[in-house]
Amino acid sequence: MIIEFDHVSKRYEGSRDALHDINFALDRGEMAFLTGHSGAGKSSLLRLIALIERPSSGRLSVYGKDLSKVKPRQVPFLRRNVGIVFQDHCLLDDRTVFDNVALPLIVSGQLEYAEIARRVRAALDKVGLLDKEKMNPLRLSGGEQQRVGIARAVVNRPPLLLADEPTGNLDPQLSEEIMTLFQQFNQVGVSVMIASHDLALIARMRKRVLTLKDGRLIDDRVLA
């Protein structure tokens, strides 16, 4: 199991449970959508997996490791194994596309420059932006920026990819392209979990769908 939620709840100070008694597991190589209205708890759930927040109760493990036993100083090393794609891309506009994508490799500091350049170009090639590597991300279209974000998330070759509303700001055609891209990563064995409220698009992907409502997991099925 890549992700395992076991009676996980998350309560923020002075409010009702953002997540209540969540139970599910994501298998290696699986792709799943997380859906529900805004405020249903999709982002909270992803934040728990990315160790941005900790569960209030229950047991959550990622790669079989109980996250409650992860010390703060180990958090960065765990995050390196999880690629995250954000709705607003979170690209840095003071550097080129290439440097944005290279950031995870620079951060981990395990590779020499030639190898970093090779991997960055491989990732950019995969998202179809190899010819834009020297550009500033601000000069790219929304769909292109999102693809840079995806290239950055996969450049480290993480076994798990998380995406929080990756198509939130894109038109239907671009959204479809982005989803297809995720599907391709899944086909080569990457586990993928995408939070999205675009039900029509999700339906076309024919994958497992987890539905959240008011912090509870109310539905978990594979769309055929």
Binding site: G29, E112, P159
Partner: protein, 339 residues
């Protein structure tokens, strides 16, 4: 403009993304041994080292202002230190020059004077002496002071004869003994130890020395605060970058590094600027100081920033800059967490 279809590009390149457990990944991680690890370690530091320098250059005016503030703050105590150090050198030179002014009794008969000077000649504690008769003393006195003219109205010379004695001994005990021995003689009115004013100067210099320490502490603190504040602003300006870096697995050390190196650069440039300021200031006051030195038979040494002072200023500035940024980084980086 046709957008390249991403899916077409994936099919033949899919080997570069493969799913595997973290355990399997770690086996695949670079295992180049100690040499590669060392090289990567230096590469990471070089990146932050030169990266932070490049960042200072991106905002030249703001950086220059910080550097100048640091430079001025460091130049003040360093300049005072040099002044005190040179005064002490001056003082040390004069302490060995042990001169006594022996004031004789007034209207001393020539025979007793000769006998007294003979005694001085035989005293092995005295290396040299020079007798100035009352007339010579009067002339010298009227040349040196304003009341010289009023002395002329006096009928007779009120001044005694003086013997300027150069002692052969230098240490304080022997000097005191010599003074006591001379004062015991009937021909002597009193003996003045010329280095007493030097002792007073020494005391003033001592106060100056303490002043340098106090000033250096205060202005050193100012440098720490200036660098700390600059780094704090720079952390604020890079909030988004820090958040993203944390999200993609940047350790605190990685995030801290460029800020610490910025502090180091600020310190280094500030220190160098301080040295430039001091040298300019020394050049400006060189003329009057040399004139003063001539008045004191060149006892006052050449004011100059020596190598050890240069090293202390530069190393101290670097440490203060580093310390200031450490303070800011440890206080503010923790507050920035991804949401």
């Amino acid at each position: 403009m046709k957008r390249r279809k991403p899916q077409q590009r994936l099919s033949h390149r899919d080997h570069s993304v493969s799913a595997s457990s973290p355990a399997a990944r770690s086996k695949r991680a670079p295992v180049g041994g100690l040499r590669l690890r060392l090289r990567l370690y230096f590469m990471r530091h070089a990146q932050a080292f030169f990266g932070s320098l490049g960042r200072l250059r991106k905002a030249p005016l703001a950086s220059a202002m910080t550097v100048m503030v640091i430079g001025i703050a460091l130049a003040l105590p360093t300049g005072l230190y040099l002044l005190v150090k040179n005064l002490r050198g001056f003082d040390a030179q004069w302490q060995s020059a042990t001169q006594l002014s022996v004031f004789l009794q007034k209207e001393l008969p020539v025979s007793r004077l000769d006998k007294f000077l003979d005694e001085l000649k035989q005293d092995k504690d005295i290396s040299d002496f020079e007798y100035r008769d009352p007339t010579a003393v009067l002339i010298e006195f009227s040349q040196l002071s304003d009341i010289g003219d009023s002395l002329e109205v006096l009928d007779d010379n009120p001044l005694p004869g003086i013997v300027i004695v150069q002692s052969a001994v230098a240490d304080t005990d022997a000097m005191t003994q010599l003074v006591e021995r001379l004062e015991a003689k009937a021909e002597v009115d009193f003996v003045q130890l010329d280095r007493r004013w030097l002792e007073r100067l020494y005391a003033i210099v001592d106060i100056g020395k303490r002043g340098v320490i106090v000033l250096a502490c205060l202005l050193g603190l100012a440098v720490v605060l200036v660098v700390g504040n600059t780094i704090r602003l720079s952390i604020e300006g890079r909030r988004a970058e820090i958040k993203i870096t944390k999200l993609i697995g940047g350790t605190d050390g990685f995030i801290r590094r460029p800020f610490l190196y910025s502090g180091l650069w600020y310190g280094l440039f500030g220190g160098v600027f301080a040295l430039i300021l001091i040298n300019i200031a020394l050049f400006a006051i060189k003329g009057p100081v040399m004139a003063l030195a001539r008045l004191y038979d060149d006892g006052f040494g050449l004011l100059a920033v020596d190598l050890s002072t240069t090293a202390i200023v530069v190393i101290g500035a670097v440490l203060l800059g580093w310390g200031g940024s450490w303070l800011a980084v440890s206080r503010h980086l923790r507050d920035i967490q991804p949401t």
